[in-house]
Symmetry: C2
Subunit: 456 residues, 2 copies
């Protein structure tokens, strides 16, 4: 009786949050997405005052909240300042939400396995406490705001003094792009994205560094900022993420700069310095940043395929980047490498990878590929575009990258709605899937006789 007399909603909410944080997160995400779409349909958000169509508003709300960056409208040209602020708020909510949710789910997984803490949360109990979640949210918000403020403090004077943008516009643009960059949203107020800043290292490199920091993921960011000079003290997750992401950045920058070097429609006509700056920028941006200074649709077919691969992988777990994440790729690579060397277990940095995490990585890879291939076939049937364009757009949506060969705005509504589903699934799918799998891991008491089919 006493229980019934107490206020029920907060208890239920609290219980729901703690018992099934994944379900809570997915529900919240979809509710905020639809609310954002409703607000963006208001005439006050539309430059022409007619209001966006439902599909335009839903697409814009989703690309903002899922920090993707594909767009069917010009954010700066077709939205009012109010509309652009709604977009920035959705980006900020999406970025903070995803980092918090992924970190909380990470803590739950860590509690479940009784492993040592990576997020500054006490590990004495095996139940997640409200204080833990509050602490994580606080740290995520502080980290995000500090990084965004620093980037804005670099962008605003550069835009004002270097490009003659009036101070008030420079503040507006600097803040918007700082939020968009750290959260890996890739949405720009300019219809040609960062093309107007082509070749400018003082503006592009800070933007790129912010996308990298946001993309590394909150656990890595926290740990590196605490133990920067002592990499040997980092957890395995941080070591793996930092090493893999660095190698992928170097490979991406080298490949894309080399492949586009003589392309008359992209790097070809530029000075060597501009080639290097823009090549580096385009080697970094597919890892979910999503800004561009070159015409992606004019790139060589080889560059598009390399970009697709980089977009598919993304960057760090529990960050603002998408994709299957570098840790997943690293686990798969390490399994293959151990297998080639004939090692029965997978070792890295003095640790052995658990069998559960190996199977989960394989599952995430396989399901992500299945989603990409099935969606690509569907879009190829629904449109007249060719494989290179459609595959690029599908991976950009499901990897929440936002780079585009230019076809998204021209797609039929049904195809745009498929991209909406892909952005949502790409943003919340891997996190909830991986944590759900990890939490269901358990050991079987009895087992069947072993057998092996012939493979290869």
């Amino acid at each position: 009786m006493r229980r019934l007399s107490r206020p029920r909603v907060p208890t239920d909410l609290r219980r729901s949050l703690l018992s099934s944080p994944a379900r809570m997160f997915v529900t919240l995400f979809v509710v905020v997405d639809l609310a954002g779409a409703a607000v963006l349909m208001l005439p006050v958000a539309h430059a022409e005052g007619d209001g966006l169509t439902f599909v335009e508003a839903l697409f814009t709300s989703t690309t903002s909240l899922a920090v993707c960056g594909l767009s069917v409208i010009g954010i700066g040209s077709e939205l009012t300042v109010f509309g652009a602020i709604v977009v920035a708020v959705l980006i900020q909510l999406g970025g903070i939400g995803i980092m918090t949710a992924a970190s909380v789910l990470g803590v739950v997984v860590i509690h479940r396995f009784g492993l040592r803490m990576q997020l500054g949360v006490q590990a004495e109990t095996r139940a997640l406490r409200v204080g833990d979640v509050r602490g994580i949210v606080g740290r995520v918000v502080r980290t995000s705001l500090v990084c965004e403020a620093v980037l804005a403090l670099i962008l605003v004077p550069r835009m004002w003094l270097g490009y003659g943008i009036p101070p008030r516009d420079a503040v507006y643009s600097g803040l918007f792009h700082a939020v968009s960059a750290f959260n890996n949203a890739g949405l720009s107020l300019y219809d040609q994205s960062m093309t107007r800043f082509s070749g400018d290292p003082f503006l592009l490199f800070p933007v790129a560094i912010a996308t990298i920091l946001g993309g590394l993921g909150f656990p890595v960011l926290l740990e590196v900022s605490r133990h920067l000079p002592r990499p040997h003290a980092w957890t395995l997750h941080t070591k793996l993420t930092v090493t893999t992401t660095l190698l992928l950045f170097l490979a991406g920058i080298a490949a894309i700069t080399a492949l586009e070097w003589t392309n008359p429609a992209t790097l070809g006509p530029m000075t060597s310095s501009d080639k290097l700056v823009n090549g580096a920028f385009h080697g970094i941006m597919p890892r979910s940043g999503g800004f561009n200074t070159l015409d992606v649709g004019a790139m060589d077919q080889s560059t598009l395929l390399v970009t697709v691969m980089l977009m598919f992988v993304g960057n760090g777990s529990a960050g603002t980047a998408g994709g299957i994440k570098v840790a997943t790729l690293a686990v798969i690579f390490l399994v293959v490498w151990a297998e080639i060397r004939g090692h029965p277990s997978v070792h890295v940095f003095g640790r052995r990878l658990s069998r559960g995490v190996i199977r989960q990585s394989l599952s995430l890879l396989f399901l992500s590929m299945t989603v990409v291939v099935a969606s690509t076939v569907a879009l190829l049937v629904a449109t007249e575009f060719r494989l290179d364009r459609v595959l690029f757009e599908v991976v950009s949506a499901s990897g929440v990258v936002g780079l585009s060969t230019g076809i998204t705005a021209d797609l039929p509504s049904a195809a745009q709605l498929l991209l909406v589903v892909l952005m949502l699934a790409g943003r919340i799918g891997p996190i909830t899937f991986a944590s759900a799998l990890a939490l269901r891991e358990h050991t079987r008491r009895y087992d069947l006789p072993e057998s092996r089919p012939i493979i290869g």
Copy 2:
């Protein structure tokens, strides 16, 4: 002293064959490939009498021996009957060689793991005996010749009575295509492959069934022929292979027939009956048969992507098909399915999959994808063709399928040589790789502390 006086070569050969059958097999394969190229360069093999160029001859020898089917020349139009017979002999050697080698390696693996025999070889000893190899070769040759003879007995009268091909030509063509079909070579005497028999179920279905039988693999063929009415007595490998291959055939036939149904350049103008027959044929042929009755280059982009996926998988292990093999795909799918259901070990047909075979399947998948992507990037750089064409040709070569959008003959020599390497690697790579990994499997006594990065 006594040992030294005995003849050394056969002993060495025998020791080498038994101690490292994989190395022996690879060496023999390359030697026969080069010998075939040398013979095909003779003017007597060339219809115009000039002799093929080195690249043409090497390509033709490789596509025959690796039972691929891509071609830079017209087999029937540019080679003499002598040249075509050389091609047929290379196909036969390649088919028998691959089945024998894969079966022998399979026996070695089975010996190593002390599992129950699948190939009619005694399992009392853990060493491979010469008698075992001889027995396998005998069974492989008998099986091949019987299947080819039956198919030729169907094809010859049909070509003679149904198409008015003179009896002698019908015998020549029937025998050539029987050899080409059972061995999944996909090489035809006709420049348009099977297009002249478009819609003819009495000719196309026997050809398709022969490619399926050859593609299922020798161990499955042997076991099914012995225990046809008792599928519960089949080994896990046979159950997995038959189930998966059947599902993939149904999916491939349904998808390709539906996607091409209204294409004016392929099925569109045909009668419903012709659509169904040709659609079924093109749903089966990507699984390494490689013949075609439709213009592959005119197919829809969605069909090309579906075909690429089917070509990548191929058919059964230790058969004449290529690809990563259906058992590999089945293992990966079962791992993912078990993971989604939260099962700690992977069960199928009352057995548990060994951890070794899971890691080996993942390795084969990952390396195959890496080879495909890297080769596609290289060919995109080297040519002006677009992603859909280049990816198709690369997967067709590495999966030794032989279907073509028509670009192979137009590629520069360097690109054709890359395809030669891909055909060789695709034919002998998976078998030797998988068996090498299986043979190096062992258990580690001590181990490092376990750790798990965050994935997804």
